[in-house]
């Protein structure tokens, strides 16, 4: 194993722990700013959050956002980032950034990608060139991009497959983690997170957890989930991971999720989340509200002169009505921007209220209240009932 790494680039301060569940509220100090957890990180794939200026994002209270290494590595490319001094400077974002390794996009976006021990080989659709993404190359690009948190290159397999490939990927992810740690040049300004793999197999997950927590990384991600697997299996892998992972390091549940997922998985002990859902659904005309979703395209909105949410402080809710949004949704580009602004605010507000409830040690009440609003007829999804029960919350 490599010598202990200086973690001055990240400190986690646990402010409060829920006395009933595994939830905790923390303060995560990163190079660019402090982040309150549990935190939701919006995804700005290509160095921009679909139409939102960095200033608008800052105003929502967002303290950390994502960029995708695969896209950014192609355009504008690592060389440009070296020239300008990183993505923060390039896009004018003063707070924190997190980049993924580029691996997931390759597997999901590119039809012909081939994984070997060396790395992932694929044809780049941007310039039709053959590219080999190795752990070293991924770290190199991420070092250039300069995000506060960077992710190891992992061997990602779909959560819906089983068999020996899952074990192979898990084992390879451990070896690639070591290569990433070795290759990482900017340990004082960038935090390399490990990604726990192992599919839906608790035996494999446990092996991975065992091995990876021996490595001295500043944080851990739970990967390989949120890929269409059965939710009943999903939550078990999440809680298994948080049981095992060290308490004094942040836990990042990748690709999650919907508001309900955020509330439940916070109870299971996760600190960080990311998902394209709120921003994507905004572009289709759907706003997120405490009771679930509001489809602005529906005729019922045509004469509804209330804002999306009367309690929301975002610029959209302060200035526009559902009726107005109904007339422009899917027709005018600005509609998707207005809804994106609202949905981001919704997510920020949700996470803040989760955090406050944990600090006040009232998280079970918060969860009940939230779930009742989302499911007024109490038809809770089975997995949420089971997952919450596992951390001593009984949904009424």
């Amino acid at each position: 194993m490599s010598a202990p790494v200086n973690h001055s680039a990240l400190t986690l301060k646990v402010l409060a722990e829920c006395s009933v569940t595994k939830a905790r509220a923390c303060q995560l100090s990163l190079p660019h700013s402090v982040v309150d957890t549990p935190v939701f990180m919006p995804v700005g794939t290509q160095g921009s959050l679909k139409g939102i200026t960095p200033e608008q994002l800052e105003n929502s209270g967002c303290q950390i956002m994502l960029g995708n290494t695969y896209h950014l590595g192609s355009n504008p490319g690592a060389e440009l980032f070296d020239k300008v001094g990183g993505l923060h400077k390039f896009m004018g974002w003063k707070r924190n950034l997190l980049t993924d390794s580029g691996g997931f996009q390759m597997v999901s976006l590119v039809a012909l990608s081939e994984v070997t021990e060396e790395g992932v080989r694929f044809s780049n659709p941007y310039d039709a060139k053959d590219m080999l993404l190795t752990p070293e190359k991924s770290i190199e690009i991420q070092n250039s991009i300069g995000a506060d948190i960077i992710m190891q290159l992992d061997d990602v397999v779909s959560s819906t497959i089983s068999g020996p490939r899952v074990e192979e990927a898990m084992g390879r992810s451990i070896r690639w983690l070591d290569r990433c740690i070795e290759a990482h040049k900017k340990t004082k300004t960038q935090n390399l997170f490990a990604i726990i793999q192992g599919g839906l197999d608790s035996r494999l997950r446990t092996i991975c957890l065992n091995e990876m927590s021996k490595r001295n990384v500043p944080g851990f991600a739970i990967g390989g989930l949120s890929g269409g697997e059965d939710k009943n299996d999903f939550w078990k892998m999440v809680t298994l991971s948080t049981d095992f992972l060290p308490k004094h390091k942040p836990r990042y549940l990748m690709g999650v999720g919907f508001p309900v997922d955020l509330v439940v998985c916070s109870a299971l002990g996760c600190d960080m989340f990311d998902c394209v859902y709120p921003t994507r659904t905004a572009r289709f005309g759907t706003a997120l509200i405490p009771t679930g979703k509001l489809d602005l395209k529906k005729k019922g909105c045509a004469e509804d002169f209330r804002p999306i949410d009367e309690n929301c402080s975002c610029s959209t809710c302060r200035q526009f009505t559902r009726a107005y949004l109904h007339t422009i949704v899917t027709k005018e580009t600005v509609a998707s921007i207005l809804l994106t602004i609202h949905n981001i605010q919704y997510q920020m507000d949700l996470m803040r209220s989760i955090k406050e409830a944990i600090i006040q040690d009232k998280y079970p009440e918060f969860v009940n209240d939230f779930m009742q609003k989302q499911f007024p007829t109490r038809n809770y999804p089975e997995w949420t009932v089971d997952a919450l029960a596992s951390v001593n919350i009984k949904l009424s």
Binding site: L49, G51, H71, V84, S336
Partner: protein, 276 residues
């Protein structure tokens, strides 16, 4: 009129018939004049009776296609009505999105002149359409008061930034970058610069050095180039913010030039720095 009552605008244009038919067609042009006056009179009736539109201003439209006599007739007759201002209709090309409204074509300048000769000085005149800076100045010189932002919008739509000189303080990007513009439509490129040009990939200056718009104070050519290159929505947003700002600055400069008596100097500057 019931739509106008529902909208409660500050000013509105009375319904008009702007289809003047083929160029030179007298019969159709005359029809458009007659019909528009008839519509105007009916609108004025309703306007007078309307409580709701008491504080709204009604504008009349000048029709007549390209036939000078019809234009004069339309202007004379419309001026007799109690309208608050005039819209000069039927002069834009109605052509492809990237068309500019050249006033030097088809005797348009002369037609506008003949219209304005018949209109009272103290009421505003509007000319809609995508006019570039030289054409705006030509229209202002003739006596037009109000324009719209179509031109700025079209520039944004083609991923370009307005970079023509609006004041001695701002360093226009066009003059900065020199004569390296790409080959397509040189006429157009002299007021604007396409951000798709690879030369901006690592240019970390604002779109126009010295510009105080949101985009120029917060972002760089390189970033905007990247955004338009990968098709990110923010690219167009940032360009529109700049283009509107730049365009409005131009109008401030025109107003100042008229006040100070340096209008001709402004025309010469635009002509020498930006026209072929």
């Amino acid at each position: 009129m019931s739509v106008q009552e529902a909208f409660k605008p500050d000013w509105y244009q009375a319904l008009c018939d702007s289809d003047a038919g083929k160029v030179g067609s007298r019969k159709r042009a005359h029809k458009s004049v007659e019909r528009t006056l008839a519509y105007l009179d009916r609108c004025l009736e309703k306007h007078k009776e309307s409580e709701v539109l008491r504080h709204s201003c009604i504008f009349g439209s000048i029709e007549g296609g390209s036939v000078a006599e019809e234009r004069e007739l339309s202007a004379k007759e419309t001026a007799k009505r109690p309208v608050a201002g005039f819209v000069l209709e039927g002069l834009d090309t109605n052509g492809p999105l990237d068309s500019v409204l050249p006033l030097c074509e088809n005797g348009k300048k002369e037609i506008i002149q003949s219209i304005l000769n018949e209109l009272p000085d103290e009421k505003p005149r509007i000319l809609h359409g995508p006019l570039d800076p030289a054409n705006i100045l030509a229209a202002v010189e003739l006596g037009i008061d109000i324009f719209d932002s179509t031109y700025a919008f079209l520039v944004t739509e083609r991923n370009a930034a307005l970079t023509f000189c609006v004041s001695p303080d701002t360093e226009s990007m066009a003059s900065n970058v020199g004569k390296l513009q790409d080959s397509c439509n040189l006429q157009r490129n002299l007021y604007e610069t396409s951000l798709t040009d690879k030369i901006f990939k690592d240019d970390f200056r604002p779109l126009v050095v010295g510009c105080q718009c949101y985009t120029c104070t917060n972002h760089t050519r390189a970033y905007v180039h990247h955004l338009v290159n990968v098709g990110e929505l923010l690219g167009k947003t940032l360009l529109m913010l700049h283009n509107l700002y730049h365009f409005l600055r131009f109008f401030e400069v025109i107003q100042l030039a008229l006040e100070e008596g340096t209008f001709e100097k402004l025309q010469n500057m635009i002509a020498t720095r930006h026209c072929n």
